[in-house]
Amino acid sequence: MATESVAFPAALPISRPVVDRLHEWVTTVDHKRLGILYIGYALVFLCIGGIEATIMRVQLMVPHNDLVSPQVFNRLFTMHGTTMIFFVAMPIVFGFANYMLPLMLGARDMAFPRLNAFSFWLTAFGGLLLYFSLLGASGLYGAGNAPDVGWFAYAPLTSQTFSRGHSTDFWTLSLLVSGIGSIGTAVNILTTILCVRCPGMTLGKMPMFAWLILVMAFLVLLCVGPLTAAQIMLTIDRYLGGHFFDVQAGGSAVVWMHFFWIFGHPEVYVLVMPAFAIVSEIIPVFSRKGLFGYPFMVAAGLAIGFLAMSVWAHHMFTVGMSSSANTFFVMTTMAIGVPTGIKIFNWLATMWGGRIHFRVPMLFCLGFLFQFLIAGLTGIMLSAAPFDWQLGNSYFVVAHFHYVIVGGILFAVFGAFYYWFPKMSGWMLSETLGRLHFVLFLIGFHLTFDFMHIPGLLGMPRRIYTYEPGRGWDIWNLIVTAGVVFQGAAILVFVGGLAWAFFRRKSAGNDPWDAWTLEWATSSPPASYNFATIPVVRSRRPLWDLKHPDDPDWKYEQ
């Protein structure tokens, strides 16, 4: 292998004052540091959101439990949902996109480094605003409280009549602010991919990661705008006496649902596209084969992005739309399963005949594949309107989307963490602890979310704070809560693994996985300028070409 490293002087002498180093982090415009800030910030909120979920599960463990009051339970599920979507999932995928994109594209930074920092801090302050509601929601009178309108905040719950104080406003403002941050990041990502690729990297030679992140950023551009618009309207209603969602004055509560879900459904694809992107990088490397069907993967990604904009009202079958609207959204929702299926088959075909290395990143990706498939199947079940009339707003739906977000997206993100942590820090994570993390999380995940489908089928509605005994839900709820213990333990092992890596400092080298994309061509962690000389590429796997000059990819690629 021709990539023996030339040691650069260590970037930062460790002995500088803490204040100086902190100042550097706060004022940084380096995409790698901002990426790490995004990821670190998301992990903190993951713990907060996880604690909220744990409290809810303990409350629901047995019937007639009174650990929390109904009011507190409402706040818990609102904060849990909002936190996990806006301040965990989005920042963490933005973090990986931020960190990896310029490296994979052979660039020195994002297209607009200062916009990048601006966007991160907007997102960060959005999260702080949401949690500041605990102190500030009632103003200076009495104790504050958190928003309690649910993460999709249907009208008229959000009107001044039903939501006194400022809790809903903190929710609105935090989403407005972080939404503007997301738009900034999306603009930056799109511009980076289109304008700062290294010489030779045509669109058709980009890593699949870049393609799918491109689709994600485009979806963010199109879908966060409606959310922002809806939040502005809600604020007009609440503070200027507007009537957008005021049924008494001719307004419509259903319009809010449409506006929210025009954001809300593409948002799912905003989150899952990066998961696809991660898996499309990891599976080939650990199967020792190039990605199968690259052009079809790109086309399927674009098709999903296109269809994603036309499926939103499948969240609203139970509202009572016209039969033609129902039919349209049933069809589009089922159609989106086709390109997704293409992707799953292509990942399988990538592994087929490969020499699969079952390292921790690959394990998480295999978990992703299996679980995302099941999540997609329950999704197709729910996409049939009559089925949805029966099970909409039940725990079946809760189980379905947690299967997507935890079983799919979070597994892929953990895979990404184990895959790229050596690049980000220069240290290896423990393989043993990683496997333990995987196994515990897999057991916990399946205990919780497999069994959560059943009380849903038995008629248990979501968002209830407690239930009567003897409806057949008791044992299932107990099992679901038992899974939380394993998930919590897995997270502790994960944190332990990070600490192990930090104290052991087992050097990772530039290219611990013998991978093929450009981020592995530079040092770990990369210098602030990423590449001393801007690379020139001729194929989709530039490092393969370099390692096998006798048999380079560019001889065969179209």
Binding site: C195, G250, F531, V536
Partner: protein
């Protein structure tokens, strides 16, 4: 890191990518468009759904003159950018000032219309659904005009201070894209509010 792992000599590779400023601005315009689409959809959906007056037909007068002002400012800003590309600074600052004047005139028109609506017709944002949707849609557009005017004025100030030169034509051009967008949105808002909705 090896300094030259990738120099596998792709020969004399001709490598040109789209410029960042334009692509970034088009992305921003896409995001802004999706915000406007939602407000326009809300406006159209709520046409005729107000439970009490005043109704659009009795309240609105078509602002033809001010519309002409705003739309012609697209032309003047185009002339300004062209002049700067030719390094004709005198023409540039004249056309640029004309753009600002036309934009400000439009804003004045909106202000007068709102004053009339509030004090004579008695229509505020909380009067009825028409008021809510009208003020928010026209207001959102007006907000974009204000932002545009601030940016245009900043460029004007820099021009008078002598720091806008020929080589800044590209950046000024990117800013002009935003202004064209604001004008184009007005075409939609005008059609929806003053033609379809009236």
């Amino acid at each position: 890191m090896n300094a030259s792992p990738m120099t596998m000599t792709a020969g004399e590779l001709k490598w040109e990518l789209p410029t960042r400023g334009r692509v970034g601005m088009f992305c921003l315009i896409a995001a802004e468009s999706s915000i406007f689409v939602i407000f326009v959809v809300a406006y159209i959906f709520y046409i005729g759904k107000s439970l009490s007056g005043p109704m659009p037909r009795e309240a609105l007068e078509v602002p033809i003159f001010f519309t002409i002002c705003l739309l012609s400012s697209s032309l003047t800003i185009h002339r300004a950018v062209k002049a700067l590309r030719r390094a004709d600074l005198r023409r540039f600052s004249r056309w640029w000032l004309a753009t600002i004047a036309l934009g400000a005139t439009f804003l004045y028109g909106t202000a007068r219309e709102w004053q009339r609506l509030i004090y004579e017709v008695g229509l505020t944002i909380s009067t009825n659904l028409f008021g809510t949707t009208y003020y928010s849609l026209v207001g959102l557009h007006g907000f974009h005009v204000v932002v545009g005017l601030i940016l245009l004025s900043a460029v004007m100030a820099f021009t008078w201070l002598g720091s806008v030169r020929h080589e800044h034509a590209y950046r000024v051009d990117v800013l002009s894209l935003y202004w064209h967008f604001v004008d184009a949105v007005w075409v939609v808002v005008f059609t929806v509010v003053y033609i379809i909705g009236r």
